[in-house]
Symmetry: C2
Subunit: 367 residues, 2 copies
């Protein structure tokens, strides 16, 4: 049989700036061919790629491997690797037959002998918070037989849908009657977040970059869809908020506007920071990317929110103190006339320990 | 009886910049007097102030009342109000006798007829996330009878101790063997955090601004006490980390350094942002103050952390989709040769919906 063309998209060069240039860093390469009757070893199978799913997290993988982030990098000289729908053409793998559909990671090329190993990096060299992207292997899926179109496997049934689902079910802790703000509301993730939240009885504010996307968000049920290019986010949130939840797909200024319009005990779900993916790491705003990469929880609190704990505090701590099991120091300021100096010492570094203003010397003596 | 001097510290003027000037915004006023035999109405009592406790949160209250934050503002023309130890001199309040000690909010003056109401603001005018500072009323405490010195009531038994306790017990979720970083480790809060964490079996890294404070932190048991003015925080954390928890007392650059050196699923406890209290609100870094004021939780996550949920996802979502209960749109790019354009559309706003690259037209047809 004559060789078939096997066009691919190559990751040709590590971007030195954050700007990806087609033809330089990413190269369409129509030249390769493949013999579809090529021999397959035991365990191998040949797939034909049907749908490719470009996703923002892929950008993070196109980097100098010396930079550690949450994902393993892609390999220069190999095709891009990403989520895709494939069909099995031939199989020497037990339990897998020709004609089956699969979703998972595959190189951006027309045909592939699986498992595709040339793009794999040595996972062992990465820190513990790094996710081994090569572990997202192809898994069989059912033919929907017309119940929904195939591209759904790359949107609401793919990574975007899963991200919306996990973010809402596991992280956001939403309740009926709450107000949520979703940035990138017309995106794969955002469009699912809007619908999940409407099904759960929330008021949904959602933004996107064009009026057409605003219409789409309205059709999904968003209560306050708006175009952030023509209406400032802060203005909409001030008018329609406060918001109880923020599902953050972008980071940057929207994060700031959202936080400034949050109600008490608000929750920000950091799903991504797409606005930061294409800017240099050192310019990224307030570490949002790292919060996301390392699944960090940030929790503001006030002492006065926990009256129950304060009861325990007054039972336990004076005892430990009297028993000498806790140490403490105070920086004593003597007399009301030194009160201002005592207060300002908190901010200029002159307080040597917790400042206390002693108005009656008897009560400062043994400190 | 001759009137007694009743010196006080006045909140004389709202600071227009963030710089507090003694004699202008805060004024020591030795002139007032009080008749200690003055008549007391039913429910009133006369206190003598013994110890005053200057605390960072007080700075936030010294502001234009039009600015909403987590606390009610102080009143210009009235003494500062803060936590203090007082002794009851005379009482017309049921159940309260002369000679009793009390801790709570009182004006910065030598003697006070309680309850002191002149500094109270109208709480009803503030948003729901505002804490009514005037609700922290004086409560009786026991004479420690030498078991510990009196100033402890303004440090480890006062707001700083409570903040450390609530932060560690309720928010930080610490486990033996973990590594925690504490900024402002020699402060009232920090010194307790160090000790609580050592008692719980953590490795404690702690920073302060002088070598003397470093010695104090060492005496409290800190494993890696250091002076951040002479050794960069990022350098210490890179060497001694990664850190699992960060107890943030300062915000600003330390927050950034801490996040950059955190392990997977790290937790940042935002107790305060003292580095931001004296700078203009619009220059405050990454909204840390607001996260703290509104007790906001920020949670980074990756889909791949929740394999259990993904099982549910694939049970529930395809059904909803087939039933028409979920909508989805994709932006289809046709052919491998448009793969790069599809990928870049994620970042330049040209993707109208989730991009999908269709390699076989049959699988893109019905989208």
């Amino acid at each position: 049989m004559a060789p078939e063309p096997n066009p691919r998209v190559l990751y040709a060069k590590i971007p030195s700036s954050q700007h990806l240039i087609p033809g330089e860093h990413l190269v369409y390469d129509p030249a390769p061919t493949i013999d579809l009757e090529c021999p397959l070893a035991k365990g191998q199978f040949l797939t034909k790629t049907l749908l490719l799913s470009p996703e923002p997290y892929m950008r993070e993988r196109l980097r100098d491997p010396a930079i550690n982030t949450y994902s393993t990098p892609m390999k220069v000289g190999q095709p891009l690797v990403g989520m895709a729908l494939v069909i099995v053409l031939r199989s020497e793998k037990e339990g897998l037959r020709a004609g089956e559909y699969m979703v998972g990671f595959t190189p951006w090329e027309a045909y592939t002998v699986q498992p595709y190993v040339d793009a794999r990096v040595e996972y062992k060299d990465f820190p513990s918070y790094t996710f081994d992207m090569d572990s997202l292997i192809l898994k069989p899926v059912q033919d929907p037989q017309g119940a929904f179109p195939w591209p759904r496997f790359c949107s609401c049934l793919g990574v975007p849908g899963m991200a919306a689902y996990v973010g809402i079910e596991k992280i956001a802790d939403v309740k009926p009657g709450q107000t949520i703000y979703v940035s990138s509301g017309a995106s794969g993730v955002g469009s699912m977040v809007i619908q999940f939240c409407k099904q759960k009885g929330l008021k949904v504010i959602a933004s996107a970059s064009t009026d057409e996307k605003v219409k789409f968000m309205k059709s999904l049920g968003a209560d306050v869809p708006f175009n952030y290019k023509t209406t400032p986010v802060a203005e909409v949130l001030a008018r329609e908020g406060p918001i109880d939840r923020y599902f953050d797909n972008v980071g940057g200024e929207q994060f700031e506007a959202a936080v400034n319009n949050m109600s008490l005990n608000g929750v920000v779900v950091i799903c991504g920071a797409i606005s930061e993916l294409n800017i240099p790491r050192e310019q990224r705003y307030g570490n949002i990317s790292t919060l996301f990469h390392r699944r960090i929880r940030v929790q503001g609190f006030l002492v006065t929110d926990s009256p129950d704990l304060l009861g325990r505090f007054f039972q336990e701590i004076p005892v430990l103190l009297a028993q000498g099991k806790l140490k403490s120091e105070e920086h004593l300021f003597w007399g009301m006339e030194n009160g201002i100096a005592a207060f300002l010492s908190l901010f200029d570094g002159t307080a040597q320990a917790k400042p206390v203003v002693v108005l009656d010397p008897k009560y400062g003596a043994s400190a």
